[in-house]
């Protein structure tokens, strides 16, 4: 049976690499302890993922939701999965006790939710989206709004969505045109069209709360005039729920996440769509951005989980499937398992490096998120915040981009069977692709990293990262010179590009943002592998050998690409920059 994610790695990561006990010593997490709450919680997630979610993955992938008579019906098995996810308590797990949550550290949620996502990404997504919507109302809504929506969302009685994207605007939220007209009664009348709304309609729950970006009449243009609204599918009238003029205008036929309907929605076709302002007027994007690190970390986990389940599937296949013989072996000898072939092991080690490297990177990033909120010292919180902001675009993009490569390797390893839909790797490959697109595409992440994060605070974040890296290098008992060697050139590069931007050549600064993301990711993941293997101490068992060998693989095959990428960014290499549209 596919374990979805390695228990041994997760247990080691949480306990030894991320030093959970030290995190749980913070006053915010006083209700938790490793033995009494975290270990049982991980055990519960593993069971629900393996026994409830994963068995229904294939059928949910094969039979997507149906759109009939203006309503969307999800796969019948989703009802069972939803009930179990709600009972498990996953929606409010990370929220404070006051709102019905359990104050689970994000560090723990990151790894525990990875099992649920690996089991059935689309099924988990209903819960993830509901948490996101509820969290916005919790953080920015009025008390009346919280009373109306929060308990119902956190219990899973209703679900939530993020309704940001519009057909004409895509990633460019500055061009959002949905409108909100104030009324005397305190609510706004919402009108407009949204697209790619995941979970935008379903027959799991009585109601859905959409978090909608729209412009209040007379608002300034661009991102400074966008406000956030809670817009339920049905609104309360007395003690009943009546339709709130929210309509499904179409379903998106997509290649992955097939259990989760993705819809085009129209609001206020009949002029009767009530919405309630969340947060201050015109501050909608600012509110959204405050949730962004967490949302992007979770997309990184989506990607890691999707690569992880495929890695374990291909590992089991490579051990079981017998094909070919060692060089020079007699043709009459028995065939050997695939894993006995060196190139098959290359494909497995590469997947392991990406999957476990990603999970560790996300764990490290989530830990900074926990510290940025709950550390007791102001300086410690501020430093954690800097590192969180810097690492988030990498923790979103590396698992998504390299995860796609890992998923392709898992498929490749299955040979012709991998290319057939009888086997699951092709489904995970399809699921994975979304992660480079949603919650900020790879392009957006690259621009965010180079244009904002590394140059913020006059390089303070980069300096803090350097200190973190050096700290782990210093306690390593193995050769880390290759990592130390690339660090000065990365700092120099950032200084050069920063000056290029400051001198007015912004395009020249950002033209290689994708390469910059690549070199930063490769370096940061090399650091993460140092951190992971340094935590092994003197261990020499197979588990430890496997992790050390994976780090060596990353150092030998990936780190050497960094100097070339640095040169490319530094020189501002012009081949595609100068390429004219007409030349295609």
């Amino acid at each position: 049976m596919n374990p979805l994610v390695s228990d041994a790695f997760v247990d080691f990561l949480v306990t030894d690499v991320l030093e959970l006990d030290a995190l749980l010593a913070l006053p915010a997490f006083e209700g938790h302890s490793r033995a009494e709450t975290i270990a049982p919680w991980l055990a519960a997630c593993r069971r629900v993922a393996r026994e409830v979610l994963f068995p229904d993955y294939r059928t949910m992938d094969a039979e997507p939701p149906r759109f009939e008579n203006g309503r969307v019906s999800v796969h019948p098995r989703m009802k069972h999965a939803w009930k179990e996810l709600c009972e498990l308590g996953v929606i409010a797990a990370g929220r404070p006790v006051e709102v019905g949550g359990q104050q689970l550290p994000l560090t723990v949620a990151t790894v525990s939710h990875a099992y649920l996502m690996a089991g059935n990404l689309a099924a988990y997504a209903f819960a993830g989206l509901t948490t996101g919507a509820a969290h916005l109302i919790e953080a920015f809504g009025t008390d009346a709004l919280k009373a109306r929506f929060l308990a119902k969302l956190y219990s899973g009685e209703w679900t939530g969505t993020m309704a940001l994207t519009e057909p004409q605007a895509g990633s460019s939220l500055a061009d959002v045109t949905s409108r909100a007209k104030p009324t005397k009664d305190g609510h706004y009348l919402i009108s407009g069209a949204k697209i790619f709304i995941s979970g935008g309609d379903q027959d799991l729950t009585d109601n859905i709360v959409h978090l909608v970006l729209a412009r209040i009449d007379g608002a300034p243009p661009g991102t400074k005039g966008i406000s956030l609204f809670a817009v339920p599918k049905k609104r309360e009238q007395g003690s009943t729920l009546v339709p709130n003029d929210v309509h499904v205008s179409g379903v998106i036929h997509k290649i992955g996440w097939k259990g989760l309907p993705s819809l085009a929605l129209s609001f206020g076709d009949e002029g009767d769509c009530h919405g309630w302002l969340v947060g201050p007027e015109h501050q909608g994007l600012k509110c959204m951005f405050q949730m962004m690190n967490e949302a992007r970390i979770m997309v990184g986990v989506n990607a890691t989980a999707t690569a992880s389940v495929a890695f374990h599937e291909s590992l089991a296949y490579a051990r079981e499937r017998k094909q070919g013989r060692a060089h020079g072996a007699s043709p009459a000898s028995a065939p050997v398992p695939l894993v006995a072939h060196a190139d098959v092991r290359r494909m497995l080690v590469r997947q392991k490096a990406i999957v476990e490297g990603s999970l560790a990177l996300l764990g490290v990033t989530a830990r900074f998120a926990d510290l940025s909120e709950h550390a007791t010292g102001d300086d410690e919180r501020a430093r954690a915040r800097l590192l969180l902001d810097l690492l988030t675009p990498i923790a979103k993009t590396f698992p998504a981009e390299k995860g796609f490569e890992a998923n392709a390797l898992a498929l490749q390893l299955h040979g012709g069977y991998g290319y057939s839909s009888e086997y699951l790797p092709e489904a995970w490959l399809r699921d994975q692709k979304l992660n480079t697109i949603h919650e900020g595409t790879t392009t957006i992440q690259g621009l965010d990293l180079l244009g904002r994060k590394v140059v913020a605070g006059a390089g303070a974040a980069l300096q803090a990262l350097g200190e973190e890296i050096e700290q782990d290098c210093a306690r390593a008992t193995f050769d880390v010179s290759a990592l130390r060697a690339v660090l000065p050139s990365v700092s120099e590069l950032v200084a050069t590009l920063g000056m290029r931007g400051a001198s007015g050549d912004v395009e020249g600064m950002l033209v290689h943002s994708a390469d910059f993301m690549d070199l930063m990711s490769t370096t940061v993941v090399a650091w993460v592998w140092v951190k992971v293997t340094a935590a092994l101490g003197a261990r020499t068992d197979d588990f430890a050998k496997g992790l050390h060998a994976t780090r060596e693989y990353w150092f030998a095959t990936e780190l050497p690409r960094v100097p070339e990428l640095v040169r490319r960014c530094q020189s501002g290499e012009r081949s595609f920059r100068d390429f004219q549209d007409g030349w295609f």
Binding site: E36, P40, A44, G89, Q102
Partner: protein, 268 residues
């Protein structure tokens, strides 16, 4: 009528673990193994929770072993919803007679209306404790409790208990799994029931349940404090893996196959 129900939670090796016999052949290698609650006991807890949800009452869960069994008592047992736990702290060998004796003493003190135990534990598959306990207490016993409805049925989805309490609260009706079918019996309370796999689909421990379990009462006792001598009456003489399956062979023709089936395998 509220019911007081006593259930058990044995810590067993996780069936996903690779079990190896130790070199001396006296037991299995415990290093690196994962442990969990006996799945039959989990079903017992679920049934008890359904009964007390319907009739009111209390569920007390018992485990015997070293301090590690507290893990299974807290989660899933208390996290699923059991009200309190009793941990019989005992390190060292034990057999079914010692276990049943501990449970007997606890029952004499706690005076439950009903004990529900797994019909067996998945580690040593002895399947004897339930019957020993009923005998020791002089209570009626209803082993192999199952139900007529399937695990996909509406009755199961509604989480209705399959063990039915009579209107006067003096007996329970239990559907037993027997060779080739089901048998319905009525057992006078107090009684001991043991669970089959088809009795119910146990709930999962939830995060709110796990958090609540931390503060639920957990009482520690010892066999000595219960007045029980745990010296085993049974000694494990030898433990071996099942013989490995031998590779197949190709036979020349059908007559050769027939010959082997007849004279070697004696299958025809």
């Amino acid at each position: 009528m509220p019911l007081k129900i006593l259930v058990t939670a044995k810590r067993v090796e996780d069936s996903e673990s690779k079990i190896k016999v130790n070199p001396a052949g006296t037991g299995i290698v415990l290093e690196g193994l994962k442990f969990k609650i006996n799945p039959f006991d989990e079903i017992a807890i679920e049934e008890a929770l359904r009964l007390t949800a319907k009739h009111g009452g209390e569920v007390v869960v018992v485990s015997i072993g070293g301090k590690e069994v507290v893990e299974q008592l807290r989660s899933p047992a208390l996290a699923m919803g059991a009200n309190r736990a009793i941990w019989v702290n005992h390190v060292g060998p034990m057999d079914q007679l010692g276990i049943a004796a501990c449970l007997q003493k606890i029952c004499e003190k706690e005076k439950p209306d009903l004990c529900i135990l797994g019909k067996q534990a998945i580690d040593d598959d002895q399947g004897q404790v339930g019957s020993y306990l009923a005998e020791a207490l002089g209570w009626s016993q209803a082993t192999f409790a199952s139900k007529e409805e399937s695990l996909e049925s509406e009755a199961e989805k509604s989480k209705a208990p399959a063990i039915k309490l009579s209107a006067d609260g003096k007996s329970v009706t239990v559907v037993r799994e027997v060779d080739g079918g089901l048998q319905t019996i009525e057992a006078t309370l107090p009684a001991v029931a043991t669970t089959e796999l088809r009795l119910n689909q146990p709930r999962y421990a939830s995060l709110p349940g796990i958090m609540k379990a931390k503060t639920k009462p957990l009482e520690e006792v010892t066999p000595a404090s219960l007045g029980v001598d745990m010296t085993p009456h049974i000694t494990v003489v030898k433990m071996t893996h099942p013989p490995a399956r031998k590779a197949g062979i190709k036979v020349a023709d059908v007559p050769a196959l027939m010959d082997k089936l007849k004279n070697e395998a004696r299958a025809i």
